[in-house]
């Protein structure tokens, strides 16, 4: 187990280097000149442009820029944005917001999605099962911006239960509505995955054995059925957590949440290399760690799986 984890962590290093290099190249090939764009509609003054290019290290060849960036990164310096603020500070503002938003969405998926899937999987063909199927179908087929705008209009403007947009991105109670909207699509997937998985495993041999042993139904379901059925769901949730951490540009935009999606979008628009690479680097790490945790959870859920 220990060596397995160590090996996985060592594998992350080349993935990390490759990912940062790719993102660096991609930002570099974005069309347009970020320094000239600072001047907006007005003609850029060549002398000033040359000075600014030098200041942001943009007057160097690409490989030098990359090495310079990586060298700073190794020293814990993520660079500076055009606003003069350090990228670390920008991320320090945005990530806590996105983590809160992701937590709301993630909790919604787990604590509503799995029970719903369990119930409808156990009572296949019942009214509840049909309702869950129709409900999830509707959620899956509606684009998130429609859902978000309708929720904002109805709950925020018409009913006035909450403010239409988030007034303080750090207040988790204000993030509930955006979080529910953000989590709704994955909720539908989680419900359906759980339902199918439960349906399959109900007929498994070990289930018959458990029932034949005379175990109480509660134990049969929670110990034997649910645990084994959760493997595909956990796989999905793991990657979904990564996706949630990457921020949700559409949902964040509609509810005016100042999270990672918003930061990344602005940075790409301004072609701010350090910010884009910095944020994506952190996201790559989040993904890698999330997938490692998912793999380790398999062993917890299914006693047949062992890592050496």
């Amino acid at each position: 187990m220990g060596t397995y984890v160590l090996r996985r962590i060592l594998q992350m290093i080349p993935v990390f280097i490759g990912a940062t290099l790719l993102i660096f190249l991609m930002v570099y090939t974005l069309p347009g000149d970020p320094i000239a764009a600072l001047f907006g509609d007005k003609a850029a003054d060549p002398a000033q442009v040359a000075q600014l290019r030098h200041l942001y290290y943009l007057d160097q060849p690409l490989w030098k820029q990359y090495l310079h960036y990586m060298w700073n990164l190794l020293q814990g310096n993520f660079g500076t944005s055009f606003t003069g603020r350090s990228v670390a500070a920008l991320m320090g503002d945005a990530f806590p917001v996105t983590i809160r938003l992701a937590l709301v969405a993630f909790a919604f998926e787990i604590f509503v999605g799995i029970p719903l899937g369990l119930l409808s999987g156990l009572k296949r063909g019942s009214l509840l099962d049909t309702l869950v199927l129709i409900g999830t179908l509707i959620v899956i087929s509606i684009p998130v911006f429609v859902l978000a705008n309708v929720a904002q209009q109805v709950v925020g403007v018409n009913l006035g239960w909450v403010t239409p947009t988030v007034q303080n991105s750090n207040d988790i109670s204000q993030l509930i509505l955006p979080g529910l909207v953000l989590g709704s699509l994955s909720l539908a997937f989680v419900t359906r995955l759980t339902r199918t998985s439960i349906g399959e495993n109900r007929r498994a041999d070990y289930m018959r054995t458990a029932v034949a042993k005379g175990l109480p139904q509660r134990t049969v379901i929670s110990r034997h059925l649910l645990r084994n059925s959760l493997i595909p769901v956990v796989t999905f949730l793991g990657t979904d957590l990564g996706a949630l951490m990457g921020g949700a540009i559409v949902t964040e935009g509609i509810f005016n949440v100042k999270g990672v999606g918003n930061l990344l979008y602005q940075a790409i628009r301004h072609k701010e290399g350090p910010t884009v690479v910095g944020v994506v680097t952190v996201l790559v790490i989040v993904y890698l760690v999330a997938s490692l945790v998912v793999d380790l959870l398999y062993a917890v859920l299914d006693p047949r799986i062992r890592y050496a």
């Binding site: 000033q48 040359a50 403007v157 239409p164 109670s173 509930i176 005016n256 100042k258």
Partner: protein, 538 residues
């Protein structure tokens, strides 16, 4: 956990209902009395640069700077005329050397007095190429600018020879050339004074600016809001009638509009395109529709052989006369623009309607002119625009007009975003025509003409070069008074009507609104609210 979530929900909805209820009662009983100490919120965004006056050329930083600082002069929001602020008077006999006399009693927010030295030091600092100020070329009229801002290498000196401090309240500005309307430029935020402390720590002051304007800086919660409060010792003619402005960052105008409708935002910048059709019914008397000093045009690649021919001005006039501006502004643009009849936006000093003689729809005349001019090269026209600015709809409509009325094969050529389109335009990689426009730096016709149409001017993207226009512009620059300069530039505008280097399309308008908590909201020609006049109902 689901239980906890539900409890939170109830709490949130209960407080929200309570807030709405109290809001209702206060507004129904509220008369027009106002609370001079209450602040109001304005839709803004995170500034792109540190808050230094010579570094703010985008709206989010610009509107904060403009409230924290006051220069020698500003513009009267009601008529765009020059209004003296820190300056007592600005004298000149030859439109080249200006003697500035300051009023006494003005102080910075840190209590130090505003002296002549603060202006001179600030301008020298802003012009210095080493200080990386985006707006440094605003100082390029001043004698000695090239010394502090050389084309390459380090500046030889930190002082422009054209600026001389005489005493605490007097200094002189000597320009490299005559600029009769230089006073107008002085209202631009780049010409603000800076306190002595600034020069020790420019970066720190860029995060916590100290100015001399009607509002003083309180806090900058990055990506969330910038809070200001009224400065009690403000000496300007426009004393704030409210307690301060809170600039709230929004990522989209849709979100801001939803907040405005539910009174979570007091004044907004521009309603989102999706609300243009409905905002006047949504907001009633709280809707704003006022002119802005900005114009949108189609520029031609006069640097290409295709468009540099002698008779092709007639073709450009023909294209202009084939465009049904009134219908497009009403339908496609939903009343957010007003048809242009001149090369200068409506409302700025020196504006004269009707100078663009070919800006009226006249299909018969257009066909004749097209024939006389020898037709559009290749009988096809490509209009390049940036796809991220909501231009597609009107470019398609204009092309439809041109196709139907003149039989010219006209198509739009979208570039993914603004900076890509700008790079293509300034790099002369356009084939035929492109979307362009001009937003006033100061409300004077010279600003719309000199910077765009003069030979080699910094924003002359068409490559237009007319000795006649240049001559008239030079005369206007050397005129004795601003009024003479305005008429001079009107004559120069006549040359443009003949040559048609650009087709003026329409003037921008401010389509905005405000919440029920504020009153007396009006907008100036920069598209900014008259900040100090806004009253918060008390």
């Amino acid at each position: 956990m689901p239980g906890a979530t539900r409890v939170r929900w109830v709490l949130v909805s209960a407080t929200a209902v309570a807030l709405v209820a109290s809001g209702c009662s206060s507004s129904s009983s509220g008369s027009s009395s106002s609370n001079a100490n209450a602040t109001f919120t304005y839709q803004s965004g995170e500034p792109q640069n540190p808050l230094q006056p010579a570094n703010a050329n985008e709206v989010n930083g610009g509107r904060v700077i403009q409230n924290l600082f006051r220069g020698l002069v500003d513009y009267d929001p009601s008529n765009s005329q020059i209004r003296m602020q820190v300056a007592e008077k600005i004298d000149t006999s030859d439109s080249q050397t200006f003697t500035v006399t300051l009023k006494s009693g003005w102080t910075f927010h840190d209590g130090t007095p505003v002296k002549a030295k603060n202006f001179v030091d600030a301008w020298n600092w802003g012009a210095n190429v080493k200080n990386n100020q985006i707006n440094s070329d605003w100082f390029s009229d001043i004698q000695g600018y090239a010394d502090v801002h050389p084309k390459s290498g380090n500046p030889a000196t930190g002082q422009m020879s054209g600026l001389t401090v005489q005493d605490d309240t007097h200094f002189t500005i000597k320009l490299a050339n005559k600029v009769s309307y230089f006073e107008y430029k002085l209202g631009y935020p780049a010409f603000s004074p800076l306190p002595d402390g600034f020069f020790n720590d420019p970066a720190g002051y860029g995060q916590k600016p100290i100015g001399n304007g009607p509002y003083q800086f309180v806090s900058w919660d990055h990506n969330s809001q910038i809070v200001t409060k009224a400065y009690p010792n403000y000496q300007g003619v426009d004393k704030p009638k409210n307690g301060g402005v809170v600039f709230k960052a929004y990522t989209t105008s849709e979100a801001a509009y939803a907040d405005l409708q539910s009174n979570n935002l007091d004044v907004m910048d521009q309603v989102p395109p999706s609300a243009l059709a409905s905002y006047k019914t949504d907001l009633g008397s709280r809707a704003i529709d006022s002119p802005q000093g900005a114009i949108q045009s189609i520029g031609f690649t006069l640097y290409q052989p295709d468009w540099s021919g002698a008779n092709l001005n007639k073709v450009r006039q023909a294209l202009s006369m084939a465009i049904d501006r009134d219908t497009i502004t009403k339908t496609v643009l939903q009343g957010s623009r007003k048809s242009a009849t001149a090369f200068v936006a409506e409302g700025v000093a020196g504006y004269k309607s009707g100078t663009c003689t070919a800006c009226k729809l006249d299909v018969a005349q257009a066909k004749t002119l097209l024939q006389e001019g020898g037709g559009v090269p290749g009988n096809s026209l490509k209009i390049t625009y940036n796809a991220d600015g909501g231009h597609k709809e009107w470019v398609d409509a204009v092309c439809n007009n041109i196709r139907q009325n003149l039989g010219v094969n006209c198509v739009g050529d979208p570039k993914p975003d603004f900076k890509t389109a700008r790079a293509a335009i300034t790099g002369h990689q356009i084939d035929g025509a492109f979307r362009t426009g001009w937003v006033q730096d100061y409300p004077l016709n010279a600003n719309f003409l000199a910077q765009v149409y003069r030979t080699g001017a910094s924003s002359n993207d068409t490559g237009y070069s007319s000795p006649q226009f240049d001559q008239l512009a030079k005369q206007a620059d050397e005129a004795a008074t601003v009024q003479d300069s305005e008429t001079g530039y009107q004559q120069a505008e006549g040359v443009l009507a003949q040559d048609m280097p650009q087709i003026p399309l329409w003037y921008y308008r401010t389509n905005s609104g405000f919440s029920t908590k504020v009153q007396n909201v009006s907008f100036d020609s920069f598209g900014n609210p008259v900040w100090t006049a806004v009253q918060v109902k008390g």
